[in-house]
Symmetry: C3
Subunit: 353 residues, 3 copies
C-alpha cells in the first residue's frame, strides 16, 4: 500500500491545526483521526515486515503490541485529563472491535477469496480462553460494584489485586507463547518464504519508533477535542469512545488482520484480532489502572457499565463459537459484523449519563 504514504501529510497538518486553532474542536478531532490512520498503517507495515522475519504467531504478537501502544498512549493521555469513562469506553470498544469488527472483516474478506480457511484450533482455543479470562477480570469488579454499594476502599483494593492477577497471567502467557510452546505459534511454510528475503530490520524499527512517537502527539490533540466534538455531533462520549476512538486506535490491527486473511494466513489474523483484545484487557487495562494512581486526578476503577459488560460477554461467546472448529467461512465474518452493528446501534441510542 505505497499510496498510504501520501496520507502521512495529514500528520503535520493535524499538529498545525491543533496548535493554531485549538478551539475548532471538530476540525482538530477529524484531522487527528485522519493523521492517526496512516501512522497506524506505517506501524502495520513495519510490524508486518518484521513479522516476516520472526514468524506468524510472534508477528501477530508484535502487531498486537504496537497496535496497543497507540491504545496505551491515548488511554494514558485521556486519564491524565480525567476522562475515566472515555478510557473505559475505548477499552470496551477495542475488545469488541478487535474480535467482532477486525476478525469479522478478516473472515469475510478472506472467505470471499477462499471457500474455507483453516487455522490451528489449539492456539485459537487458548486465545479465546484468555479472552474469557479477560472478560471475567472485567465482569467481577463490575458485579462486585453493584453488590457492595459504598465500600469504595474494598472495591479499589479488589480492582487493584485483580489487575495484578491479570498482569501475572499475561506474563505467564508470554512465557507460554514465546518459550515453552513456541512451536504452536510457529513459522508456517508460506511465511518462511518471505523470511528469506532480506529485510532491512533497522529501517523498520526506526519507522516503528517514529510512528509511535507521532501517534502520541496526535493522540493528545484527539483526546482534548473529543468531549466538545461528541457534543457538537450529538453523540454520547460513550459512543465516541466505544466506536470512534476504538476504531482509530485499532486501525493498525484492522489493516494487518484483513491483509493476512486475504493472504489465507488465518492463524496470524486470529492472533492479531484475539491477541489484541486480550492484550487490551490483560495488559493495557491493568497498566492504565496502576498508572492512574500516579498520573490521574483520581485512581481509575474497573466498573464498566451494564451495556459494556453485555457487549464484552457477547463478543467472547461469539468469537469462541466461530473459532472452536478451526475453520472460517465468509458467512461467519458476516455473523460477527452483524453482531458488531447491533451492539454499535445499541451504544449509539443509549442516552449519556
Amino acid at each position: 500500500m505505497p499510496s498510504g504514504r501520501w496520507f502521512l501529510a495529514a500528520v503535520p497538518l493535524a499538529l498545525v491545526v491543533g496548535h493554531v486553532w485549538p478551539e475548532r474542536h471538530t476540525l482538530v478531532f477529524f484531522t487527528s483521526v485522519v493523521a492517526i490512520l496512516p501512522l497506524a498503517a506505517a506501524i502495520g507495515r513495519a510490524t508486518e515486515a518484521l513479522a516476516g522475519r520472526l514468524g506468524g504467531g510472534i508477528g501477530g504478537l508484535l502487531n498486537a503490541t504496537f497496535g496497543n501502544a497507540a491504545e496505551l498512549i491515548i488511554g494514558a493521555l485521556a486519564l491524565r485529563e480525567g476522562h475515566v469513562d472515555l478510557v473505559k469506553a475505548s477499552l470496551t470498544g477495542s475488545i469488541i472491535g478487535n474480535v467482532l469488527l477486525v476478525f469479522g472483516a478478516a473472515a469475510l474478506v478472506g472467505g470471499l477469496k477462499h471457500p474455507v480457511q483453516r487455522f490451528n484450533r489449539t492456539a485459537a482455543g487458548l486465545g479465546t480462553t484468555m479472552l474469557l479470562l479477560s472478560a471475567i477480570g472485567l465482569v467481577v469488579p463490575a458485579v462486585f460494584h453493584r453488590l457492595a454499594h459504598g465500600m469504595t476502599t474494598s472495591e479499589l483494593r479488589l480492582d487493584t489485586e485483580i489487575a495484578v492477577v491479570l498482569l501475572v497471567t499475561y506474563g505467564l502467557s508470554l512465557v507460554f507463547t514465546l518459550r515453552t510452546h513456541r512451536s504452536l505459534y510457529g513459522v508456517s511454510p508460506h511465511q518462511e518464504a518471505n523470511a528469506t528475503e532480506a529485510v532491512d530490520v533497522r529501517r523498520w524499527v526506526l519507522i516503528l519508533i517514529a510512528a509511535t512517537v507521532a501517534v502520541a502527539f496526535v493522540s493528545e490533540l484527539l483526546v482534548r477535542a473529543v468531549a466538545a466534538t461528541s457534543q457538537a455531533l450529538g453523540m454520547t462520549e460513550l459512543f465516541v469512545g466505544v466506536v470512534v476512538v476504538a476504531l482509530v486506535g485499532n486501525a493498525a490491527e484492522h489493516l494487518s488482520a484483513v491483509t493476512m486473511a486475504a493472504d489465507n494466513q488465518m492463524d496470524a489474523a486470529i492472533a492479531i484480532a484475539v491477541g489484541s483484545s486480550t492484550q487490551i484487557a490483560l495488559f493495557v487495562a491493568p497498566v492504565l489502572l496502576l498508572l492512574s494512581y500516579v498520573i490521574a486526578p483520581a485512581p481509575m476503577d474497573l466498573h464498566f457499565s451494564t451495556f459494556e459488560l453485555v457487549a464484552i460477554g457477547i463478543s467472547v461467546l461469539a468469537v469462541s463459537f466461530i473459532a472452536h472448529d478451526g475453520e472460517t467461512h465468509w458467512m461467519e465474518g458476516v455473523q460477527l459484523l452483524a453482531i458488531y452493528v447491533i451492539l454499535a446501534l445499541g451504544f449509539f441510542f443509549l442516552p449519556g449519563t
Copy 2:
C-alpha cells in the same frame, strides 16, 4: 404415518365448533389444537417427500420454512388482535422448544436406536452461531429497554434497525446455504437413494398449500380462544404462549426431526431444529415487527421478559455444548429435555403480570 390422516377430520370439526359455539373457549382452543396437529403432520409429510428430491440440508430448510409458516400465521393473527405478549411468548417458546424439546427428543429417540450419531460439525457450528446471533438480536433490545427508561422513540428505532440487520443477515445466510456453500448442506448417499423414486411433486405442493391455508383458518380460532382458555385453566398467558402455542406451532418440525433422527439422519434433524429456531428469530420475529406497523393496533417491540431472555440464553448455550463435537448420544437428548422441563416449570410457576 397414514393413520394420521384420520385426524384430519378434526379440521372441519374445529371450524364448526369455532363458528357455532364461539363462546365455548376451552373447547374451541382444544379442537383447534387437535386440528393443527394433523395439518402440521401433512405439512411435514409433504416437505419430507419434497426434501427427498432436494437433499437433506435444503429439505431441512424447506421444513423449517413451512413449520414457521404456521408460526408466522398464528403470530400475525395474534398481533392483529393486540396480543403482543402472547406473540413474544410464542416466539420464545418456539426458539427454546426447537433446540431443547425437538432436538432433545430427536437425540434421545435416535440415540436409543444408534449408540453414536454423527453429523457435520461445520454446518452445525454455523447453525449454533446463527442461533447466538439470534439471541443477541433479542437480548440487546431488552437490555437497552431496561437501561433507557422512557426513551420510547429511540427504542422503537433501535428495534426496527436491529430487525433490518437480522433480516439482511438471514438473507445472506440463504446465499451461503443455497449458493456458495451448498455442498456443506448437500445430498447424503442415503437420501440420494430416496431421490431416485419418482415423487409426485405437484401433488405434494398442492397438499402443502392446502394445509397451510387450513392452518391459517384454524389458527384464527385458536388465537381468539387463548386468553379465555388460559384463564379457565389457571395458567398464565406467558405459559400458554411459551409452552402450549409453541408446541402446537412446532409440531411439524418435531415430527420430522424425530423421524429423521430415528433414521440416523442427524444432519437433517439438526438442520430442522436449529434452523427452525434461527428462522423464528431472524425471519419471523423481524417480519412480525415490521408487519406490526401495518396490521397491529400499536407497533410490536422486542422487549422480552427477563425469564424469557434467560431461557433463550440457556438454550443457545445448551445446544452449542451438545453440537460442537459433531456427535450425539441418548444422554445428550435427556440433558436437553431436562433443561426444557426445568424452564417449563419456571414458566408455569411464574406469576402473570
Copy 3:
C-alpha cells in the same frame, strides 16, 4: 504418600480438642480442618486402589462419590444446625473449586511434566454439558426468586420439582456411564497394567468406611465452630463456606486429580474434577434439599446469591472452553487458577449480609 499417615494423629487430637475445649472455636476449627485432610487422603488412596481394579472412568466416579460423601455429611450436619447459607456457599465453593482449582491444578502440574495432555473429547463434552445442566438447575430457581417476590409456596414447589428433575437426570447419567456407554469411560492400557497387581479389596473397603465415619465426627466439630471462627478471623461466613469449607471438603478429589494428571491420566483427572462438581449439583444439592424437609428447622431453598451464580456460570464456561478441544497445556491450568483467584478475591471482599 505414606508420610501422610502421620497426620492421621490429628483425628483423635481434633476429637479431644473439640470435646475438652468446645469454646476454643478457632482451635477446634483448625484441628478439624487438619484432621479431615489425612482422612480425605486415606479416602483418596483407597478409592485410587479400588479404581485401579475398576478402570479409569468408574474409578473417577467412585472417587467423586466418596469425596462427596464428606460434602454430604458436612452439609447435612450444617443444615441440622440451620446454617442454610453456609451449606449453599459450600455447594458453590465445591462446584467452582472442583472445576477451577482442582482441574486447574491438575492441568498445571500435569502440563509441567507433559507438554500436551490429551483426553477423550466425547466424555469430557458430556461432562461439561452435565455441568451446564447443573448450573441451569441452580440459576433458574434463583432467577425465579428475584422475579416472584413473596410467592414462597410456588418457589418451594418449583425448587423441589427441579430437585427431582436433577436427581432423575443424575440417575440416567449413571445408566449411561455404567451401562450403555461404559466403553467411553473404559479402562485405559496404562491402568490395566495396575489392575493386574493384586489389590486387597477388603482392606481398602474397610479403610473407606472407617475414614468416612471419622469424617462425619470431625465435620460435626467443624460445622459447630465455623460461625465463631469466621467472626474471629474477620471473614464472612460466605467466604469461609465458598473457599475454606469447600477446599477441605474437596481435598480428596484435589489430591487424586493432581496425582492422576501428573501420571498423564487426564481422562481420570477430568472425570474427578468435572464429575465431582456435577455430582454436587445433581446429587448432593437435591438430596440435601429433600433431607432438609426432615432434618432442618426449615426447608432449604435453592436461591444462591448473585455473586455465587456469576461464579458458577463463569466456571462452567471456563471449563468448557478448556475441555472442548480434548487437550490441555500448563497455561490452561494457569488460566483456570487465575479465574479461581479472581473469584475468591471477590468472595473475600464481599460484605456479609
